[in-house]
Structures are given as C-alpha cells and as structure tokens.
C-alpha cells in the first residue's frame, strides 16, 4: 500500500485485495443477487455491524460495491460494469447538455440583435 501501488494497476490491486477475504467475497456474492442493507449483509456471516461497515469500505474503495444512505438505512449494491456504463452514459448526457447550454449562452451573447421573433 505504498506510493508504488498508485500505478495503473492500482484499481485491479484494490479489487483483488477486496476479494481476497472470504467474508467480503460472501458480501459480493450476496449483492450480485440484489441490493441489501448493511444489516442484511451482516446477518449470514454472524459479523458485527462495524465489521461489515469496515469490509464495505474496502469493497467500495475497490469500486466493486457502492452504497447509498437513504434515511437511516444504508443500502449497498454491486457496482458492475454494466451499471457503471449506464451511469457513465447518463453522466455523459448531462455533461453534453451542460456544454451545450454553455454554448447556447455564448450564442445568445454573440447574437444580441436577434429579437427572437420567429418569422
């Protein structure tokens, strides 16, 4: 975990480290079936919630799992390539439109004489 690890292989290293632990592999297996709360993840492993949270953090750092707190419940879900592609696409769409609206603002600034009356 030295600075040497911060190479291009670092994400893969983190993933392997995350999956090197049987409890974490169990959590990933459970999450491939669908999203689960932290306590649902803890139940089959007879682990304390704090242990699960620690494991969860390793899994999240590795990019394999993500979690979201809604109200008092933290829901975890797998972060598969497919889903992240969808998210990437959505983010791309948003970014595309952010840039488009930047250009729209520029266009409007460049055409101040256009009264907007459509013929």
């Amino acid at each position: 975990m030295s600075g040497l690890q911060q190479s291009t292989s670092a994400p893969l290293d983190l993933m392997f480290q995350a999956l090197a632990d049987p409890a974490r592999r169990g959590m990933v297996e459970r999450l491939t079936l669908g999203p689960a709360s932290v306590s649902e993840l803890a139940a089959p492993h007879a682990m304390s919630l704090s242990a699960v949270v620690q494991h969860l953090r390793v899994l999240e750092d590795s990019g394999l799992v993500r979690s979201q707190k809604v109200g008092r419940v933290r829901t975890c879900q797998i972060q598969p390539g497919g889903l992240s592609l969808a998210e990437q696409w959505i983010n791309d769409r948003r970014t595309t439109w952010e840039r488009r609206l930047d250009r729209l603002a520029q266009y409007l600034a460049d055409h101040p004489d256009d009264d907007g009356v459509t013929p």
Binding site: R94, R100, D115
Partner: protein, 157 residues
C-alpha cells in the same frame, strides 16, 4: 445478429439542469426553434451533422441528427410532442450507438422569465437499454469483469 445472447436490461434515470440565461425567453426559444441557430450551439466537441431528415420543429415533427465521436456513431431521432412558444418544449427521442438502440428518453425544456433574463430548466428522463450491447463496450460489461476476477482468483489460489 450478435453471437452471444443479449442480456436485456433497462436502467432508468432522470437528470435536471437549471440555467439562467442572459436573454429573453423569446430569444432562448428561437435558439431551439430555428435550425440555423440551433446548429451553431447544439453540436460541439462531437461532430454532429444533420441526418437524412430535416429538423421539423412543430408538434408531431421529427428531428434527426448524427454525431460521430471517434469511431462511434450516434444517431438522435426525436419527435416533438409539445411546443409552447417562449415557454415549453417537450420531445422524446431514441438514441442509437453504432446502429444499436441504447436509450429512449423524454426531454422537457421549460423557459420562465426572470426579469430580463430567462430561467431554463432542462429535464431528461430516460431508459437505457441492454447495457449498450456494443461489442466494444461489452468488454467492460458486468459478466466479463466478474469472469475475469473469478479467473484471476482461481489462478491465485
């Protein structure tokens, strides 16, 4: 036809962008309604070109654009559902990536005056299909990732 089975997935998402533009709603509306004006700002870092159909800006009218980004070709095929001059535009559109349908979306553009300026609210609601079953993109797909990890773990034991 692809050799592998397409895994059918549908991921839904909504995003919203708000902007205050230094122009009247009429000027902002015209930038969406006038094909010449729209062509100036709509395209950008991607090279978007007008496709085989015209931009037909009226309720029931279609608009089709093709964009190339590297070796990836997008097509945008829209249908206008509502046009209230200077106030609101609603269209739905489908997007193809290298010929494969990847999303069907609905876009609402709302314009509201704010003094001499215009508040523009852009909302897109979409469904993103089948993990974008493009052979190139599929390399990053869930199954491949999991298979690779599994194989690596087996090799490491």
């Amino acid at each position: 036809m692809t050799e592998t089975l397409i895994k059918r997935t549908a991921v839904h998402a909504t995003f919203c962008i708000e902007r205050t533009l230094d122009a009247s709603p009429a000027r902002v509306f015209k930038a969406f309604a006038d094909p010449k004006a729209k062509a100036i700002w709509f395209g950008g870092e991607e090279t978007w070109t007008r496709g085989d159909a015209q931009m037909d800006f009226r309720v029931g009218g279609r608009e089709r654009n093709t964009g190339k980004h590297g070796d990836v070709t997008y097509t945008f095929d829209a249908l206008y559902w509502e046009i209230i001059p200077n106030e609101r535009i609603i269209y739905s559109y489908e997007m193809h990536l290298n010929g494969q349908k990847i999303s069907v979306s609905q876009t609402t553009i709302e314009l509201a005056p704010e003094g001499k300026r215009t508040k523009l609210t852009f909302t897109e609601q979409g469904v993103f299909l089948d993990g974008f079953d493009d052979p190139k993109l599929r390399e990053n797909g869930t199954k491949e990732l999991m298979d690779a990890l599994e194989a690596s773990l087996k090799a490491a034991v």
